[in-house]
Symmetry: C2
Subunit: 351 residues, 2 copies
DNA sequence: CTGAAAGCGCTTACAG
DNA sequence: CTGAAAGCGCTTACAG
């Protein structure tokens, strides 16, 4: 029931080195003001004893508080996607705040690059030691990353990556393979003519969407499955624009068997199919949004591909904590699982 | 950079209640020897301040070490399923051992009820405060649970449940719905005659398997999909018995389109289908075993249903930690997600 | 360059 | 039934 006494701490090191524990502390943390000689002596003893600092005691004694910042999209009416990462962030927050970690939140509008820049500016005014970022706007994010870099602030990315930036880590989907899995699932619903529509509903078509589509197409070429793939881009995300664009393309291609939506806006397409009574068309898209789940349950959406958004938020923050507080190494790239959600298993999904 | 002073600890509670911190400590831990009156007063202040104990300080000051025991199947040559929960257990272990938690491991042989009883006996000799159990053998487990009960040792179950026992929690699959999802997935592969084989490879056919099969059958009745379901039980798990049984049933029912294996032994069926060149038959089963993944990649298995075994181990241990160390409430039943694994997304699965 | 002392927020005997 | 004091393994001013 008692803790074994074979534990050696700073006290024992100090005793063996004939110095005070303050000096031992200085050496452990590489602080200045210790003679080379005592430093060597202490380091030798540390090695000999295989000393492991007690983080509990360390955090308890240290009155420093570590400030982390989060810069992600605001939860909007359009989509509740960002509720989940925020949930994960808050979960991490409540776990680590007792260790003297403080989290600052900055939210930007996904439809407004200016709001991103504004929030980024505000963030940089604070004295933060780490940043969790969703680099939604590529160019603006790169600039922000640069600014963090000069301030030596480590960054964790979630949801989408910015290749070639010197970030601490990326936690999010493998886009190519997500598209690949989507194609595989769609083939289950293909009957005769094998004609598929890829729909891109987004203001900008960036590297991310290209990767998804590339993965999607690769599945068919890899398997020598002939499949005619029609693609449309819908730049305006409002209902009317989507309806118009889809009406047009379905008129031109009456024999479409399935639709793949490259992001979470699959609910817009589901709504259209429902209204136009084209429930014969199979539909697949991304993300565990309430609206999407409703259409999944109605049978209008066949599959949703999800990447545990809540866990992305949680893990992102914990990666910064690991690095900054525990000084532990952090995995540079962590791909989330590619989860397949159907009407039958959705109730058990844990974001 | 400094900790904000808005934190209220035992000291502040003691000050407000006009008592010593020792008395506050007694109330916090429900120890005896405090008058009802001061108890009430202190509890009121605790509530008012929304006091959250500092676990770091608590564990640091307490020289008690808490011992938990794990009683699960040994990783065997037959199946590496139990590697995953063990991994999760070790992950939890390394997270909480710095808080003075010690874990004792007891492994039994899934083919040998005696080994379970023997290990259970050994476990009960130790002074443990909590047990993580996989109640694989029903009657023997019930007896063991009873013994723990008299010793007031809380139990967390993983992988399978023992209904009607007074356990702290169950963390594992929802069997009925797992069968249901399996049926749904199989329908994607059904063509004309809609004839399916359900295979049960197990020494005993207990409540668990019945639930899975019930879920499987319910899908077809719920959707008015006529489907002829043939079922066989293979009591001996060796290769020869499986081969013989399958040969016989495939001879009798040449027009089978798909096979559903109700547990992780789907690899045995895959191996048979491969040898007998019946790759036209769709196959679905459970669990992320190396052998299963190999057959998934070869295309012999179409889907695997998985329930995050690693996380079951992790969560099981953490539930005991939550209860015993933090005194926090624990969810009585936690169903794992019903994960759908295909060849295309398996590489990203995190057990 | 070094050390003595106070303190982090708790728990644990011990004394009354 | 209650409190004073020591201590967990560290860190942090402060003094020299």
């Amino acid at each position: 029931m008692k803790k074994d006494t074979t534990y050696y701490g700073v006290k024992e090191i100090a005793r063996r080195a004939n110095v005070s524990i303050a000096t031992v502390d200085r050496v452990i943390h590489n602080r200045t003001g210790v003679s080379e000689k005592t430093k060597r002596k202490i380091n030798d003893i540390i090695k000999e004893l295989d000393y492991q600092p007690n983080i509990l005691a360390s955090r308890l004694a240290s009155r420093k508080i570590i400030t982390l910042a989060v810069l992600i999209p605001r939860v909007s009416e359009e989509t509740d996607f960002w509720e989940a990462p925020l949930r994960g962030i808050k979960r991490a927050e409540s776990e680590i705040k007792k260790y003297g970690i403080e989290i600052l939140h900055f939210f930007f509008d996904l439809n407004d690059k200016n709001s991103f820049e504004e929030q980024a500016r505000k963030l940089l005014k604070e004295d933060v030691q780490g940043v969790l970022l969703s680099p939604s706007f590529i160019e603006e994010s790169k600039e922000f990353v640069q600014a963090c870099h000069t301030k030596k602030i480590p960054l964790a990315f979630i949801d989408s990556d910015l290749p070639g930036q010197d970030n601490l880590c990326y936690i999010g989907p493998h886009l190519f393979h997500s598209g690949y899995v989507s194609a595989k699932l769609l083939t289950y619903r293909l009957k005769e003519n094998h004609k598929v529509l890829v729909v891109n509903i987004s203001k900008e078509i960036d590297y991310n969407y290209q990767q998804i589509e590339k993965g999607f197409r690769s599945y068919f070429t890899d398997h020598n499955q002939p499949c005619e793939i029609v693609r449309i881009d819908i730049a305006d995300t409002d209902n009317l624009s989507v309806t118009n664009a889809l009406t047009r393309v379905l008129h031109e291609h009456e024999d479409l068997e399935a639709i793949f939506v490259t992001n979470s806006r699959v609910f817009a397409v589901a709504s259209f199919l429902k209204k136009s009574k084209r429930t014969d068309i199979s539909l697949i898209g991304f993300d565990f949004l309430k609206e999407n789940i409703n259409y999944l349950n109605e049978g209008l959406i066949d599959f949703l591909i999800c990447h545990k958004p809540e866990e992305q938020g949680y893990r992102g923050l914990m990666a910064l904590y690991q690095k900054l507080v525990l000084g532990a190494p952090v995995e540079k790239v962590h791909f989330m699982p590619i989860d397949i959600i159907t009407r039958e298993n959705q109730a058990f999904y844990q974001n």
